[in-house]
């Protein structure tokens, strides 16, 4: 039985310069409730794992936090210390979407520079920061290469540099080590740990419990669009879990999975075609 690898993070977590508050936030897409009355307060720096299975609502929650999506109900508030301007709170965020979102015909540097310019960072400063991060991530010599030929790991590292180029106080990372080899995943985790220790809030979405336990200071578990557990990992375990996070996860998510792809979601023509051909449909 695997034991929880808990660490004391008291010395690394602390008050952050920015905060994120989600109050009774809900979001539905047609007939599916992706996020259901979620309340989360992120006020301390550190790495916060957002854990859940496929379709749990992690990515939707990240998109709501990033204000790319607007909630159907509830409020998402992002505040920066000393900044009274409430317009475009995204300027305080660094975002790493699931698919990295890199332009393949541009070089790694051009991808990073594009976002640094949108954030109003001067090219000279951005280049210095970019080279520093690229050195830490081991891709300095690849900065002027088009990302078309990049491996998954190199793309992920480039996207991470892009998210960090304006030194945001809040970082939203969607599966940052997904599909990476052991070495690359370690380099990314190491960098994320280091920037969290600088006093940033990092929301780290993953479906790997072991990774979440290893790197994160706090864990938010999502299931069927709801937050089913939230706290420091060692505090979240019950005696019956015997220190095993996997057992605890099954306890938290002991419900039938949300049905997906029902006939109701399909268009009328698609439903008619399914009935006509006997392919797809109700099962």
């Amino acid at each position: 039985m695997r034991r929880l690898n808990s660490r004391n993070r008291e010395n690394v977590s602390g008050g952050a310069t920015a905060t994120v508050h989600l109050e009774e936030v809900s979001k539905s897409f047609r007939h599916i409730t992706a996020v259901d009355r979620v309340n989360i307060k992120l006020e301390e720096s550190g790495i916060i794992a957002l854990v859940g299975g496929n379709g749990a609502g992690k990515t939707t929650l990240l998109r709501l936090m990033s204000t790319v999506l607007e909630p159907d109900a509830g409020t998402v508030t992002i505040r920066m210390e000393g900044d009274e301007n409430k317009a475009l709170p995204r300027r305080h965020l660094g975002i790493l979407p699931e698919g990295t979102g890199l332009y393949q015909r541009l070089t790694a540097w051009e991808n990073v520079r594009y976002h640094s310019r949108l954030h109003g960072v001067e090219d000279g400063i951005a280049r210095e920061r970019c080279e520093s991060m690229a050195t830490q991530l081991g891709i300095l010599t690849d900065l002027n290469r088009a990302t078309r030929g990049f491996s998954r790991g190199m793309r992920q590292k480039t996207a991470l540099m892009r998210a960090l180029i304006h030194e945001p106080p809040i970082l939203l990372l969607d599966e940052p080590t997904g599909g990476l080899d052991v070495t690359s995943a370690r380099e990314v985790r190491s960098m994320v740990r280091r920037i969290a220790d600088e006093g940033r809030i990092i929301v780290y979405s993953t479906h790997q419990l072991e990774e979440a336990a290893r790197i994160c200071d706090r864990m938010i578990v999502m299931h069927n669009g709801r937050v089913v557990a939230d706290g420091r990992t060692e505090e979240m375990l019950e005696p019956e879990d015997e220190g095993d996070l996997e057992t605890a996860f099954i306890r938290w998510t002991d419900e039938r999975a949300r049905p997906t792809g029902t006939a109701e979601e399909e268009g009328r023509v698609s439903q008619w075609w399914s009935r006509f051909t006997g392919v797809g449909g109700e099962d």
Binding site: F29, I32, A34, N54, G55, G57, K58, T59, T60, R63, S66, V68, L69, E70, L88, R90, R91, L93, I95, P97, E98, G99, T100, G101, L102, Y103, Q104, R105, L106, E110, Y114, H115, R117, L118, H119, G120, A146, A159, R162, T260
Partner: protein
């Protein structure tokens, strides 16, 4: 960082991506510049070469004369020098099936039947040519036989008029129309301008619309499919700024393509005029050029916004292509209307119809018949349509479906 700086950053990035794609460069530079000159050089060259080849081909025909074993007077002399190898054969009247079969078997390319008749104390010749119009050789043989008959007829007419002591020209041309060149107040350059007005506006608008399809898809549905749109919208920009940057990029691309097309077209016309000295280049003054550019610019603003709006509502590149291609082909309707109607006496209403209005404006400019009220109507209505298209695009760009699915 100001709004326009962010828009410029987005525009510059999109243009950089276009420039990096050799297919885009080919579409925007090489094809427009080379296509028209090549077309206007190659098509006449190929047609001329084919014409020469036919001019050297001797075709087999058969002549049948009713109730006679010989041809009528002077007929034989007209068959000389016509590249026709002919034989005289007995008349096969009433056996049409057999004639058709011989033509289908290509024993001969055409069969001429001559029926001499008596009418008012003179002999007249009723003639029938059997041929296959869908067969090139047969059609050319028929054409050559028609020329023979025409020439033969003219000679007979002249002879009979002379025999009757009448003047040939006075008898045949008692009413004479003055040559057009002497009476037409329009000069050669104006006539060339009018000729161009029949197809240049259609080509320019269709080309612009077609050029915009791929970038419009790539910058919206393509970005959505590749996941780059989410990263962009996660930056501190409004969706309107993102849309404006992209719209400017597509409009620049399509506009540049249209300008290149203009250069290519001018080169093509120059090549065409070199081969046809009887044509005079059109007289395009600064006002004409300004009106043409304005019309194309307003059309570009509108069509690019509409295409972006349609593309952004599609979940994938494939879906966007499926929607945009027929939508662009729908332009053929107003284009054909605008090219077919006569400008003279056209109701004012038409100068306010979307797409038709800019085409009519371009036609008037090229034909040199521009009228201020017409210009005012097509400029104002085009501005309104362009604005409405931009609002439609902006509304489409605000839709939350722009960002992925549930996960």
């Amino acid at each position: 960082m100001g709004r326009w700086s962010r828009i410029r950053t987005i525009w510059a990035k999109e243009m950089l991506e276009f420039i990096r794609d050799w297919r885009s460069l080919l579409a925007i530079v090489a094809i427009p510049i080379l296509a028209f000159p090549l077309l206007m050089y190659l098509v006449p060259s190929v047609l001329y070469a084919q014409h020469i080849a036919w001019e050297e081909t001797v075709l087999q025909v058969e002549v049948q004369v009713s109730n006679s074993n010989s041809t009528p007077e002077e007929f034989d002399s007209h068959m000389e020098g016509r590249l026709l190898e002919w034989t005289l054969a007995p008349m096969q009247a009433g056996e049409q099936d057999e004639l058709e079969q011989r033509l289908l078997n290509e024993d001969v390319e055409a069969i001429l039947q001559i029926f001499p008749l008596q009418e008012n104390n003179a002999t007249v010749y009723e003639c029938t040519i059997y041929y296959t119009s869908t067969d090139d050789s047969s059609a050319i043989a028929q054409d050559r036989l028609v020329r023979v008959l025409t020439e033969w007829s003219e000679v007979l007419v002249e002879k009979r008029i002379t025999d009757a002591d009448l003047g040939v020209n006075a008898t045949l041309n008692p009413v004479r129309l003055t040559a057009k060149e002497q009476a037409d107040t329009a000069d050669d350059a104006e006539r060339t301008g009018q000729l161009l007005s029949y197809f240049v506006p259609a080509l320019a608008t269709l080309w612009t619309a077609t050029m915009a399809i791929q970038p419009a898809i790539d910058l919206t549905a393509g970005e959505r499919e590749r996941g780059t749109l989410e990263a962009l919208l996660g930056a501190p920009i409004t969706r309107i700024e993102a849309l404006t940057g992209k719209w400017l990029a597509v409009a620049t691309f399509a506009g540049a393509g249209a300008i290149m097309q203009g250069f290519g077209f001018a080169a093509g016309i120059w090549i065409l005029l070199r081969g046809a000295p009887e044509l005079t280049p059109p007289n395009l003054g600064p006002t004409t050029v300004l009106l043409l550019v304005l019309a194309l610019l307003l059309f570009t603003v509108m069509i690019v916004a509409v295409q972006l709006a349609i593309a952004v509502r599609s979940a994938s590149v494939r879906e966007a292509g499926t929607a945009l291609t027929p939508a662009t082909l729908l332009l053929l309707g107003p284009i054909l209307i605008a090219q077919a109607v006569r400008l003279e006496g056209l109701a004012m209403f038409w100068y306010g119809v979307p797409v038709v209005n800019v085409l009519l404006g371009m036609r008037e400019a090229l034909a040199g018949t521009t009228r201020a009220p017409h210009v005012a109507i097509w400029v104002i209505t085009s501005l309104i349509y362009a604005g409405l298209s931009l609002v439609f695009a902006a509304r489409s760009f605000r839709r939350e479906e722009l960002i992925g699915s549930i996960s």
